[in-house]
């Protein structure tokens, strides 16, 4: 069964149906979107069940000739890392639709356009993780910007146009650097056994170290902007602040993962030597991201910006894990991508509800919500605890794996990064104290608690956060072989415990 193309087609079909609906029937559009995303989620889970977890090769491989004269194929396939990310994306999609049931109102265009954009974006989210043809990946990588641009610019709040343009320009800049590298790879492949965009064949190219370094930078900067790694991060807070909460969830939860996923899939596979050359620099950038993002989060006055800054810190952890080159860090990084998707989703969705009720996103406008809206406050609290990696919640496992894995090879980086957990306590507890605790301040007395739809949306996310905190094995067992494979391809083995030094 052609699972991956089925997965990519389903949302498109849903989008077509919604596009055919009358503009006035908003409810039908919402229901169709929810049904589609749920169907995609079910299909993804069905596919994941059939995944052979000890097989490190690409699975569910499909390939169709697309532009034969350039050797471009519509080639799909997933390894465990891609599978996990697709799973995360397709689980988040219905949550976002359900949680943001009313957020398309007040946009520049109709409600149904919003859902068409979301579904088209979902197709691309699946495609970008599943593509095994470099050209196909690039096309989807860039095409993803379009729906997001319209989602931010058309349905966001505040200076949404400016934020959308900033997001677009940043991403396009990185994309162009990557395009240059891709073309160079293509040209070189022509000299070494035929033009191709096939990832597998490209990874066997011979090239001088200078070439490799330059091409690596082209890819890495694109991914570093996407991820975002310090100092390429300034688009994220603006975009996250201006976008609707649902869009922000997809933006931070899924789209940004394309950056870190790309680092594993493309930077490490295509340029192993250059990756090693740049690892010291990248590790420093990652550590800076962790600490810097945390400090900015502590100083943030706007709740959406705060969450965006925490994400910068978290992406620092992920990047550090990827380049630390130990199996713990690598597995931890992938697991972190999955977990961050859910903890950020929970934070953003609850924050979105808080903002929608209060009509303000400034933290100090809230106060004493714990006594007015206990369910909403608890949801925020649990999501926040997950964000600060409280043991027993999902983020802890991944964060600790990254730290332990990094420590065995780069102790100093790991030690500095660990200070991030103290800062994390501050950046979560400060908004918790200001918004949830303390006396109920004026303007907050009559806020309504979560309704059934919102509870239904947040419950699975929190369930995943809690369950994976105690029992991450199902995911870890899938990720481990793939992570190990990445490491061994790079020629690394885990550092041996230094026991017996004495």
């Amino acid at each position: 069964m052609k699972w991956l193309s089925l997965l990519m087609l389903l949302p498109l079909a849903g989008a077509a149906i919604i596009a055919a609906l009358p503009k006035s029937n908003e409810k039908a559009a919402k229901q169709a979107a929810l049904a589609t995303t749920l169907a995609v989620m079910a299909a993804t889970i069905a596919m994941a069940v059939g995944f052979q977890r000890d097989n490190v090769d690409l699975q569910f491989v499909e390939s169709y000739a697309w532009i034969p004269s350039f050797g471009i194929n519509f080639a799909l396939g997933v390894d465990a890392i891609a599978l996990v990310l697709i799973l995360m994306s397709t689980i988040l999609a219905p949550v976002v639709v359900l949680a943001g049931w009313n957020e398309a109102h007040g946009g520049r265009w109709s409600v149904k356009t919003f859902y068409v954009l979301i579904l088209v974006l979902e197709t691309m989210m699946i495609g970008v993780f599943a593509a095994t043809d470099l050209f196909l990946f690039y096309v989807i990588f860039e095409a993803m910007l379009i729906p997001v641009y319209f989602l931010i610019g058309g349905y966001g709040t505040g200076e949404r146009s400016a934020a959308a343009v900033k997001f677009l320009l940043y991403s396009l800049f990185g994309g162009l650097l990557m395009l240059a590298s891709i073309i160079a790879l293509y040209v070189m492949s022509g000299a070494q056994g035929g033009h191709t965009f096939d990832l597998d064949k490209l990874s066997q190219l011979q090239m001088s170290s200078t070439t490799q370094n330059l091409l690596f930078l082209g890819f890495f900067i694109a991914f570093a902007i996407k991820a975002p790694v310090w100092p390429f991060h300034t688009w994220l807070p603006d975009a996250a602040k201006s976008a609707t909460p649902g869009t922000s969830v997809l933006l931070l939860g899924v789209l940004d993962k394309v950056g870190t996923f790309g680092m594993i899939r493309y930077c490490l596979t295509l340029f192993p030597e250059a990756s090693k050359t740049f690892t010291p620099l990248i590790m420093v950038l990652a550590v800076i991201s962790i600490v810097y993002g945390a400090f900015l989060a502590i100083g943030a006055k706007d709740i959406k910006r705060l969450i965006a800054y925490t994400s910068i810190s978290h992406f620092g952890f992920i990047t550090m894990g990827i380049f630390a080159m130990t199996s713990q860090a690598q597995s931890g990084a992938t697991l972190y991508m999955f977990n961050h998707g859910f903890s950020t989703a929970a934070l953003f969705l609850v924050a979105g509800w808080m903002i929608a009720r209060r009509g303000s996103s400034t933290i100090s406008d809230f106060g004493g919500l714990q006594r007015v809206t206990p369910v909403m406050a608890w949801s925020f609290f649990i999501a926040g605890m997950s964000s600060l990696a409280l043991p027993g919640l999902s983020s802890f496992v991944s964060e600790f794996l990254v730290l332990v894995g990094t420590f065995t090879r780069y102790p100093v980086h790991a030690i500095i990064a660990t200070f991030g957990i103290v800062l994390a306590a501050l950046y979560i507890l400060i908004p918790v104290q200001k918004a949830l605790h303390g006396p109920t301040t004026a303007g907050n007395e009559n806020l309504k608690d979560l309704n059934l739809r919102e509870k239904l949306a947040i419950a699975p996310v929190i369930a995943i956060i809690v369950v994976l905190g105690f029992y991450p094995s199902p995911l870890l067992n899938v990720i481990n072989p793939a992570a190990k494979h990445v490491i061994s391809q790079m020629g690394f083995t885990d550092p041996v415990p230094s026991i017996g030094d004495k």
Partner: protein, 630 residues
């Protein structure tokens, strides 16, 4: 190792209680407190059952374990969700569930007027579950889960009345300072994994002999940092006083009897690390000694009864840490003092709660006085605890504290003398401030406001106090008669029996300690019982008192050294992010816009000039061909 499935119930019961109470919401308001108490009590029952089973088995087979499931397994990093119940953990299990259950019972009445009582019991159950996980986990990482879990529960309970901003701040402060300690624990685990490839207690114990001393010292120091954070030891002690913002039963359970002693548990549990790392061990002793003086000095100046008791807790845990730092000879005494302290300090906190309950939640001891007549049961139970903490024979504290003082003297050389003298002086100061508390609260003249109507607490409250008072009286004797506890714990610790010459005979030490105590009591008696006590704190006091009232400047220090620079750094970074990094981005945009508007002049809208440009472009193209096709 034998397995025992019923271990799971120890944790599962209170955890289920917490989950039910939190999820059920207001529907559980009517019976929530009963369920919570029942869960805690049944956990205590399971603990007793386990103790009986353990007593039945021969010494070598006493520890039991239970692997629940594979938690994390990546490469060499394998951690199972496993439980371990041995002679050390059972002490804690019984203390936590026993004292915990008593405090649950106490809270039914104490919190009966609070509309959020159900939530309070949910938090208490959550705490019991997390604390049990802390002492039952069979690896450092499992312990870490419980470690942060109790931190969370403590955060929630300190901030239980977080509608008061100061209380919310206190809870945040506790969590953040605990996190610094947690960071130490993270480092310790990382070092353990990097050097020994394992994080389980058994694994580390097995490999500790081979590991380099540097690594073990590093690990030991980091464990000490962790212990300092959780147990409010120097230099991470500042949160404990503020933590008294929580309801009094919380202070009794978490910030006196159980959670704050987790650091002692950690160090005792890691005995194999510290035994092989003398430098770290020395640091432990130093931290213990500093804290015991630090806490005692703060205790002398506090007028808030809970804060005075909190300072005393800090000081007493200093004793335990000090004992634990003295190596194999000290571990058992540290644990013994921990257990006796659990009884008498919890009892006294409950007593303080009882007093506050009768005094409209007044905490200032200067507004008490002569309460003996109105609260006889509270007075008696508090008084028994008082005698116990002073170390008056045959009360519990006498056995445990004397042992520590004696061991300190026996540490040998100058170290022994310094430590011994420190502990002795500490005992004297303890006697002073505890006597002060007794006198100010229960004797003398009444100083309370007219609207206070002191009355004895209901039986649900005094019953737990009475039980704990019995413990305060008897536990010391029971645990030390025939070296019961020492022998019980003996198999866990690595003894290399080196019979050093005792510096003093035990009886001499006891005599010295009692003398010091008597001096302390006497000074307090003359200072407070013989003079009129003002109901407001006098201002014209010595500089030392002023400093002591401000917790020896600990908050000012933290504020000046960490908080202010941290805030400044944050502000700077926020500004810099906007100006420098985003400024650079915007600068690129402005350059593009500028060159765009400059080039816009070319676009004059005349087709003919566009045609000319095309022509020029064609020339350039042909010229290029001309050049290339030479």
């Amino acid at each position: 190792m034998t397995t025992s499935t019923s271990l799971v119930y120890l944790i599962a019961l209170p955890l289920a209680g917490a989950a039910i109470l939190l999820l059920a919401g207001r529907r559980a308001d009517k019976w929530g407190h009963l369920l919570g108490t029942a869960m805690s009590a049944s956990s205590f029952g399971v603990g007793l059952y386990q103790l009986m089973l353990m007593l039945d088995r021969p010494t070598e087979q006493r520890p039991v374990g239970k692997k629940l499931f594979e938690w994390i397994n990546v490469g060499e990093f394998k951690v199972d969700a496993g439980l371990l119940l041995d002679q050390l953990s059972i002490c804690f299990v019984l203390l936590i569930t026993g004292v915990g259950t008593l405090i649950h019972i106490y809270s039914i009445s104490y919190m009966s007027h609070d509309k959020d009582r159900r939530r309070f019991f949910a938090y208490l159950n959550l705490f019991i579950a997390a604390m049990l996980l802390l002492v039952l986990g069979d690896s450092y990482l499992n312990l870490y889960v419980g470690w942060e879990g109790v931190g969370l529960a403590s955060y929630l309970l300190i901030g239980f009345w977080n509608q008061k901003p100061a209380y919310a701040t206190a809870s945040k402060k506790a969590f953040v300072m605990n996190r610094i300690g947690d960071m130490g624990l993270s480092f310790a685990i990382m070092i353990a994994f990097a050097t020994m490839g394992t994080v389980s207690f058994a694994g580390v114990q097995e490999h500790a002999h081979h590991a380099s001393e540097a690594a073990l010292t590093g690990m030991g120091i980091m464990l000490l940092v962790a212990a300092a954070g959780k147990s409010a030891q120097f230099p991470l002690q500042a949160w404990l006083g503020d933590a008294m913002a929580g309801p009094t039963p919380v202070s009794a359970l978490i910030h006196a009897a159980t959670m704050v002693t987790a650091g002692v548990y950690l160090i005792t549990r890691s005995n194999f690390v510290f035994d092989a790392a003398p430098t770290a061990q020395l640091l432990v002793v130093i931290v213990g000694a500093i804290t015991l003086m630090f806490g005692a000095l703060i205790g002398t100046a506090k007028d808030d009864i809970k804060k005075a008791l909190a300072a005393s807790t800090m000081s007493q845990i200093g004793y335990m840490i000090l004992a634990a730092g003295l190596g194999p000879v000290g571990y058992a005494f540290a644990i013994m003092h921990l257990l006796t302290h659990g009884f008498f300090k919890a009892g006294m906190f409950l007593g303080a709660g009882s007093v506050m309950h009768g005094m409209n939640d007044e905490v200032n001891m200067r507004k008490y006085g002569a309460l003996r007549k109105f609260m006889p049961i509270t007075f008696v139970t508090f008084g028994l605890g008082y005698l116990a903490i002073l170390g008056v024979p045959p009360f519990a504290g006498f056995y445990s504290k004397d042992m520590i003082i004696e061991t300190a003297f026996n540490a040998g050389g100058a170290k022994g003398i310094i430590l011994g003298v420190t502990t002795l002086i500490g005992a004297a100061i303890t006697a002073f401030y505890m006597t002060r508390v007794m006198i100010l609260t229960f004797t003398g003249t009444k100083r309370w406001d007219d609207d206070a109507h002191p009355h004895e607490s209901p039986w649900l409250m005094w019953l737990p106090m009475a039980v704990l008072a019995i413990g305060s009286v008897s536990s010391g004797y029971l645990l030390s008669s025939g070296d019961a506890l020492e022998n019980w714990l003996h198999p866990l610790f690595d003894h290399h029996e080196e019979h050093e010459a005792h510096l003093f005979e035990p009886i001499v030490v006891s005599a010295m300690a009692l003398t010091m105590v008597a001096i302390g009591v006497a000074i307090a008696f003359f200072k407070y019982a013989r003079q009129e006590v003002s109901s407001v704190a006098p201002e014209n006091v010595s500089i030392f008192t002023k400093i002591a009232r401000q917790d020896l400047m600990q908050d000012r220090f933290n504020e000046a050294v960490f908080m202010r620079p941290g805030q400044a750094l944050t502000t700077t970074l926020v500004a810099a992010d906007d100006v420098v990094i985003d400024g650079a981005v915007r600068g690129v945009g402005q350059v593009a816009m500028g060159s765009g508007s400059a080039l816009r002049g070319l676009q004059n809208g005349y087709v003919r000039s566009y045609a000319a440009v095309i022509l020029v472009g064609a020339i350039a193209l042909i010229g290029a061909i001309w050049v290339v096709v030479q």
